[in-house]
Subunit: 83 residues, 2 copies
Amino acid sequence: MRFAARVEVQLRPGIADPEGATIERALPALGFDGVAHMRAGRSFSFEVDAPDEGAARRKATELADRLLANPVIEQSRLELEAL
Amino acid sequence: MRFAARVEVQLRPGIADPEGATIERALPALGFDGVAHMRAGRSFSFEVDAPDEGAARRKATELADRLLANPVIEQSRLELEAL
């Protein structure tokens, strides 16, 4: 079976995020009020071949934690969908 | 009302993605087989104050298209959730 995976990698809460802070500071001057807690991160989408959803989830989670995120300062979130 | 917004920005299909291609090429040597169509992008999460969900969606969509993505080569996807 083939699954579509989507991994979102963001800095853990408490880790400074200069990119998000810079965007947030610029927003009022650009006409956007009422926006808070801006955090910037990375996202990855890919397709996984696996015999079932559990195996696909294990493979995608290991891939995310070993190669896409730095678990010391980042957390990843996985969404999986059968194709 | 306050809404949690999550914006995912990815290159449009057909636009070359060297980062995704490099990750995908490295995977077999790192023990990950059966992974294809790797695409790299960026993600942003933030909170929006707005009178209702429609207004929050309009504000977040405009913010994404004007400031977070380059609509010429990138597409953005918005998820909104009431807090």
